[in-house]
Subunit: 246 residues, 2 copies
DNA sequence: GTTCCAGTTTGATTTCGGTCAAGGATCGTA
DNA sequence: TACGATCCTTGACCGAAATCAAACTGGAAC
């Protein structure tokens, strides 16, 4: 992840905060906030590390905290009583997680990789957001984009076959895992490392781990992708993948 | 749909607008706006009727308009090139539709029943919203709730069996089609009329029309529901339905 | 009433993806 | 480098839902 802070600016020492050196400072919802607002927000929040597999928010629990993702990848999931799981969202650096303005969280949030987040007590954040329309606007834009993305994902889930799901997933990953720093778009990645285990890919696509494995093997056998490591993907024939995605 | 306007208030005749008699005035995002804001908003919008089956917004088209639903039910859908369809959302009276702050619409919007909507040019609406934080806040709350609802629907789509999907669907309909006027909650409806054909239920659940039909027939045979008309449902054994929903 | 027709139901058959079971690869740790 | 645990792959088989096909139903128009 490329660092893309604004050019360094001198600030009075007592106003120096973690935000000034935050690597997602210009991409997260706090972008655009200036002193003294950023100082006030910074005072409310604290940084936290979450190791891979560790939960941050529990489904149906009281919504007590919200956060910005600084580093790492987290999954949002819902589960049934008998243990079936569906991944309903994935949060990358600069993404916002948690449920502001609501009593309960509809999904669990669990780190997929070691992650760092910038957490806020939800009621503090709610109050601050209501007093800062620019922040609320950023949050609205982000929420609308996430809603679009979530709806777009319902098509593969409900209507696509296993091969189509896998191809759609790989193309999606190739775009989201492209270097999304501050430089000009570099286009979709040809090589990338999935933040998911096979089981997690299955939970994202509504398949079983065996079916996911078989589809990966098939793509490799057909020369569409190379799989140099358990989680590494190299796209050898993008147009074939696009055809398969339907 | 019960009328639930605020108590009648005298206003100067020249300020009288359609909003003053709007049946969703207190539930849509315009709730809370007072004169002269409501007058300004009203001047930007116009009412439109959409008959059942008629489209209002096309997928991937430029996002030119947004709207409040006044009356009727509309579906939001995405389609593949080969004609498969997935319903990704359903809009009821007082719901907001369209994609503000974005260039293109991610889903088509088509009326399921005859409907009336209050439409705005998107760029007019965007400008007005940015100048009225209270309106943006309402839109944010609504978008967050819709995101929760959409994510919750991914579990049935990806992980549930056909009988579970149908049971989940009927329970959901029973709640959303309950009298949602201004009176105290009356609880889920026991009798209701679906705004969907069998094919549309299939498009919502990621099933085929035949499977939907068979599942309905089974529920009737088992005495869980009665089906007095093509689209009419009476829930005879709610706890059985809840068991089946998983 | 009769006809027409879209929408729905029912039946027969197929197939895709799930389930069950076993074996293999990879990684962290000692 | 050996061990163990976890994750992944592969195979055999099964079953739920899709597909293909045909018959039925209930309004709308005449």
């Amino acid at each position: 992840m490329r660092d893309c802070r604004r050019p360094f600016r001198l600030v009075e020492p007592e106003r120096m905060s973690a935000c000034d050196t935050c690597i997602v400072r210009n991409r997260a919802i706090c972008a655009g906030l200036e002193h003294p607002e950023i100082t006030a927000l910074s005072a409310m929040g604290r940084r936290r590390s979450v190791s891979a597999g560790e939960p941050l928010i529990w489904e149906d629990d009281d919504s007590l905290l919200v956060a910005n993702v600084i580093e790492g990848v987290l999954k949002l999931t819902t589960s049934t009583a008998d243990g079936r799981e569906q991944i309903v969202g994935v949060a990358y650096p600069s993404d916002f997680i948690g449920r502001p303005f609501g009593q309960t969280s509809a999904a669990s949030v669990v780190a997929l990789t070691d992650a760092r987040v910038c957490v806020f007590a939800r009621n503090d954040f709610d109050r601050f957001a209501r007093e800062h329309p620019e922040l609320e606007h950023k949050l609205l834009e982000r929420t609308l984009a996430e809603l679009d993305r979530t709806r777009a994902w319902m098509m593969p889930l409900g209507r696509k076959s296993a091969p189509e799901k896998i191809a759609t997933f790989l193309l999606d990953m190739s775009e989201r895992l492209a270097d999304n720093g501050c430089m000009a778009h570099t286009g979709p990645a040809r090589n990338f490392t999935l933040p998911f285990s096979r089981q997690q890919v299955a939970d994202l696509l509504g398949l079983t781990i065996e079916t996911v494995s078989r589809q990966f093997t098939k793509l490799k056998a057909d020369g569409v992708v190379a799989l140099p490591g358990r989680r590494d993907v190299e796209i050898l024939d993008r147009s074939a993948l696009e055809m398969l995605a339907g």
